[in-house]
């Protein structure tokens, strides 16, 4: 009886899938590093910053000057604070003590966030509560 081609098909397909996958990660490789304020010092490149809002934000995110606020580590006792410069939509849950994520770059000691990348988290409650661009 002829050997079943099924095994061959499966093996080839698995190889094809892996090839697609490897190709993607090699060429596009869009993984972003997630950092907290204490780890941000000296970071270069495009990263995601995770932290808790401290103090009152100043300015208007929709104005040219933008909004500024400070972040500290979500957990742990680090005293590191980072100043964030933000333009774009601000989610409703944003306020002091909110946990947030932003993407952007560290420039001259200030974290300049990508426009509209501010996302707030819902700590320990069941539902996701955020607003972000698709």
């Amino acid at each position: 009886m002829k050997r079943s081609p099924a095994r061959l098909v499966i093996a080839l397909s698995v190889a094809a899938v892996l090839a697609v996958f490897i190709l993607y990660t090699a060429i596009a490789g869009n993984a972003t590093t997630q950092l907290s304020p204490s780890a941000l010092r000296g970071a270069t490149g495009h990263v995601a910053l995770i932290g808790m809002v401290v103090g009152k934000p100043t300015g208007d995110s929709h104005s040219v000057a933008g909004m500024r606020f400070r972040l500290k580590d979500v957990s742990g006792t680090s005293s590191a604070r980072v100043l964030v410069d933000y333009h774009g939509s601000v989610p409703d849950l944003f306020k002091p003590t909110a946990h947030v994520v932003l993407s952007g770059r560290l420039q001259n000691g200030v974290f300049v966030a990508d426009n509209g990348s501010l996302v707030t988290k819902c700590p320990s409650k069941y539902a996701p509560a955020n607003s972000k661009k698709t």
Binding site: M1, K2, R3, S4, P5, A6, V9, I10, S13, V14, V17, V20, F21, Y24, A28, N30, A31, T32, T33, Q34, L35, A48, I50, D60, S61, H62, V74, S75, S89, V90, P91, D92, L93, H99, V119, K121, C122, P123, S124, K125, Y126, A127, P128, A129, N130, S131, K132, K133, T134
Partner: protein
């Protein structure tokens, strides 16, 4: 009354432990009465768990804030419906919901199949084992019956959960997740009892289909909730919590298809075992991801203590599945081989591989942050571009296969036959493609491909129904005699609608943001939106600020929208009130978000025009209809199957 709840849960724990231990012993040593006793224990566990659930529900309804759980998730001013839905709002309650549904399903499945004593003898301990984990968690790690001094009022419910979709979404999802345990238990039961026949598949066919439908509907409800309540303008964000439900659903889709091959051709027995175990384990993983906060993303940063327990349980289940399948490998030897790479069996195989590949790449994406953290100490994560790439790479071929599969014959199809059957759908696809490019929709390649493939699939489905009706004389008879196949085609059609809706609303959407003062307008994709006025309103448990915005298309006024924000004083929480115009002309939406109300009277308005998005929700309705058709009991088939399995027993001298 909390004491009653605790006792009831302890009883459940004892009962499922008994079902596991005594049940295994009874099955192994072939003791009939002990096996029956274990079966009774599993049935009784449903009763005791129901009592515990009743205690929690009544505490919620009575606003008994001495229950820590009730105080943490509800408040006096919360409407009754939402108060009751707080049952599954917190971790402890959702674990209890899992156990209620699991014991309920287990009781029903075991009861319906009680005559297959040998199979059930092993199914009972497997179900007992799974239930044992949840009962253990509820009794000793995460109890819903903690008591404290009652505060004057509860903490209330997060604003975004106070939405009708949140009443249905979690229970639906759970009915799906838990439902996948039943085919898993029967599969493992069949292996443990050393049986080689298809009885476990026949017994669980409808369970799998029902669970899969619930899981699919649950996800659509969740997506719709995110769309109208969270309101960022989208319905799926590739968040780990969302992916948690998608992965088992994809595995279950693969399983649903490949079981058909096993039934018809006796092939892929090992593959089916692997798939059902994969679907089950992914559903446990899904529950774990949603509840433990272990993966940092949308959900929470705080790590819950149940994470470690869940992980151990998952590892245990995976090891168990692998070991059992490995040990019983000789029993699963197939007699028939794949005859041709161009056959319906082969297309099902390709479909399976693509579905599993997609599920695994999503799994990789979800796990990536944890893996990088563990290996390099630095957390890296992937986002939308990663998922979109693989959705296109695997999803688009899957879409096309949906149209190819039905046109190909079983065993082997000659290329000539294929040529004949493919002509019409292929022409439909090409014509659609050309027409779309001519109209200017060639801007997005994935979008264009999605539409072209959809045309192919649509033509092939229409052809199937037409040819079938001509051959049998009436559509009713056609579907009546072959509910699974034609119900399946209706489900395929719903997936089509979903694909078209997704393509339209993502590849071809327009987004604009503008700051407007009263009287000013903005233009988006042919619509003009004018900011007219501002209102403040008081509701039973919230205050809202909203803008009145007029929408015109050309010269015609089509809608008045009220995007705004609400404030919930008890929870000290804000809610986003988006306002949407459903345009019947393009089945799309004009989605407005009041981003910000400035002190000087400027409204920052964000508008998204999303063509065809309402097809996504319409797909849900068609999906349920198709599943019902496929699920519908067939008297002729039931008789034949009963004969087959009773007949074998009767022939025993």
């Amino acid at each position: 009354m909390a004491a009653l709840g605790r006792v009831a849960l302890l009883l459940s724990f004892g009962l499922v432990a008994y079902a596991l231990v005594a049940g295994s012993f009874a099955a192994y040593t072939r003791r009939r009465r002990l096996a029956l006793s274990a079966q009774n224990a599993l049935l009784a566990a449903f009763g005791t768990t129901l009592v515990a659930a009743g205690v929690l529900l009544s505490a919620l309804a009575r606003h008994d804030f001495s229950f820590v759980y009730v105080a943490a998730h509800t408040s006096r001013s919360l409407p009754l419906g939402y108060t009751l839905s707080a049952f599954w709002g917190g971790q402890e309650g959702s674990l209890l919901l899992w156990l209620v549904i699991l014991t309920g399903y287990a009781a029903l499945a075991v009861w319906l199949n009680r005559r297959s004593r040998e199979l059930i003898a092993w199914v009972v301990p497997v179900l007992g084992g799974v239930a044992l984990f949840f009962a253990f968690m509820l009794c000793f790690v995460s109890s819903p019956f903690g008591k404290a001094v009652a505060p004057a009022d509860g903490a209330g419910m997060v604003a975004s959960l106070q939405n009708p979709y949140m009443l249905a979404h979690p229970p639906m999802l759970y009915l799906g997740y838990v439902g996948l345990t039943i085919p898993f238990a029967f599969a493992m039961g069949a292996l443990l009892s050393g049986r080689t026949d298809e009885r476990w598949i026949v017994a669980t066919r409808r369970w799998t289909l029902a669970a899969w439908t619930f899981l699919g509907v649950g996800q659509l409800l969740g997506a719709h909730w995110a769309y109208v309540e969270i309101g960022w303008g989208g319905y799926y964000a590739w968040d780990p919590v969302e992916n948690a439900a998608l992965m088992p659903w994809l595995a279950a889709t693969a399983f649903l298809h490949s079981v058909m091959i096993q039934e018809k051709r006796g092939m892929l027995k090992v593959w089916n075992m692997v798939l059902v175990a994969l679907a089950f384990n992914l559903s446990i993983l899904g529950t774990f991801l949603t509840r433990s906060g272990v993966v940092n993303s949308i959900h929470s940063f705080s790590q819950s203590p149940i994470g470690g327990w869940f992980l151990s349980f998952i590892v245990g289940c995976v090891v168990f599945s692998v070991v059992i399948i490995y040990l019983r490998l000789p029993l699963l030897r197939a007699r028939t081989k794949l005859e041709s790479l161009v056959s319906r069996e082969a297309t099902f195989l390709y479909n399976n591989l693509l579905l599993v590949a997609l599920a695994l790449t999503i799994l990789w994406g979800v796990m990536y942050p944890l893996l990088t953290q563990a290996v390099t100490g630095e957390t890296r994560s992937v986002s939308k571009p990663y998922y979109d790439f693989f959705l296109h790479s695997f999803g688009l071929p899957l879409l096309l296969l949906m149209g190819i599969g039905p046109l190909v014959a079983w065993r082997r199809a000659s290329l000539r036959a294929l040529g004949k059957t493919f002509i019409i759908p292929a022409v439909a696809a090409v014509v659609t493609g050309v027409a779309l490019i001519a109209v200017g929709l060639g801007s997005s390649t994935p979008g264009l491909l999605a539409y072209t493939f959809s045309a192919f699939v649509f033509a092939s489905i229409v052809l199937e129904f037409t040819r079938g009706t001509l051959a049998t004389g009436s559509l009713w008879r056609l579907v009546g005699k072959n509910r699974r196949r034609y119900g399946g085609y209706v489900v395929h059609a719903s997936v089509l609608l979903l694909a078209i809706g997704i393509a339209g609303s993502s590849a071809y959407q327009t987004i604009r943001e503008r700051g407007l003062k009263v009287g000013q307008s903005m233009e988006v994709a042919g619509y003009t939106l004018t900011y007219r006025s501002l209102e403040n309103t008081q509701h039973s448990n919230s205050q809202s600020t909203s803008a009145t915005v007029d929408v015109t298309r050309g010269r015609t006024h089509v809608a008045t929208l009220h995007p705004g924000k609400s404030f919930f004083p008890v929870e000290q929480d804000f809610g986003n009130d988006v306002s949407i115009y459903h345009d019947p002309r393009n089945l799309g939406d004009v989605f407005t978000i009041a981003d910000q109300f400035d002190k000087n009277g400027t409204l920052f308005l964000k508008v998204l025009v999303k063509p065809l998005v309402n097809l996504v929700w319409a797909a849900g309705v068609l999906f349920v209809f198709g599943s019902l058709v496929a699920l519908w009991p067939d008297a002729v088939e039931q008789r034949r199957l009963a004969q087959r399995y009773e007949g074998a027993a009767a022939a025993r001298t």
